[in-house]
């Protein structure tokens, strides 16, 4: 089994991507709504990731 090293950012982006795909697939009733919801979830994940990252950086001084 090959070994993989991911940074926190890369791991969080991958997690956000696949979670958004699943959330999009299971929540809405039409394909257009699923796509829109999945993209919106991914955007929210990324915004939260960058926002919390900055918050921790500023909090640490």
């Amino acid at each position: 089994m090959p070994k993989m090293n991911l940074s926190h950012f890369e791991a969080a982006i991958l997690f956000a991507l696949f979670s958004s795909v699943v959330l999009g697939v299971i929540t809405k009733r039409t394909d257009a709504d699923r796509l829109r919801y999945g993209v919106r979830c991914f955007a929210y994940f990324v915004i939260a990731l960058i926002g919390l990252g900055w918050l921790m950086k500023l909090g640490h001084g």
């Binding site: 089994m1 090959p2 070994k3 993989m4 090293n5 991911l6 926190h8 791991a11 991958l14 997690f15 696949f18 979670s19 795909v21 699943v22 959330l23 697939v25 299971i26 009733r29």
Partner: protein
């Protein structure tokens, strides 16, 4: 009489949900394939499989159920259930000896979380398969 007819028309058709839900647990997306939703099944399968494989490649650890104080019980039993929810991926990993011991390091820690997250996403897929099988959803 008319009320009875209306109530029968509104009720979802009674279909067997055991098979699709069991298959959805065993093979992520399998319930959707069985219920003739191959596109959604393929997306679920790909998402859960890739997340699980990334977790394994990051040398994430599989949880073993442990009891003790409340926090230990919740973390280890909950983590074990999360791992188990990946179905065949979990079973093959354990049977073929790919389960890693718990190691210190942030990458291993992310891997452990990826493995649990893959199982939890499969739980969502199982719920979706149940709703489709019972006619609550298309």
């Amino acid at each position: 009489m008319a009320t009875n007819v209306k109530a029968q028309a509104a009720a979802p058709p009674a279909r067997g949900w055991y098979g699709p839900v069991f298959l959805a647990w065993l093979v992520p997306g399998g319930g959707h394939f069985l219920l003739k939703r191959p596109g959604r099944g393929a997306l679920l399968l790909a998402s859960v499989a890739i997340l699980f494989l990334l977790g394994l490649m990051m040398r994430g650890a599989m949880f073993q159920p442990q009891t003790g104080d409340v926090l230990t019980t919740i973390i280890y039993c909950g983590g074990f259930l999360g791992d188990l929810a990946s179905g065949l991926f979990y079973l093959l990993t354990v049977w073929l000896g790919y389960a890693q011991p718990d190691m210190a390091g942030h990458v291993h820690d992310y891997g452990t979380k990826f493995l649990v997250a893959a199982g939890l996403l499969n739980v969502l897929a199982m719920v979706d398969a149940y709703e489709i099988a019972t006619g609550e959803k298309e």
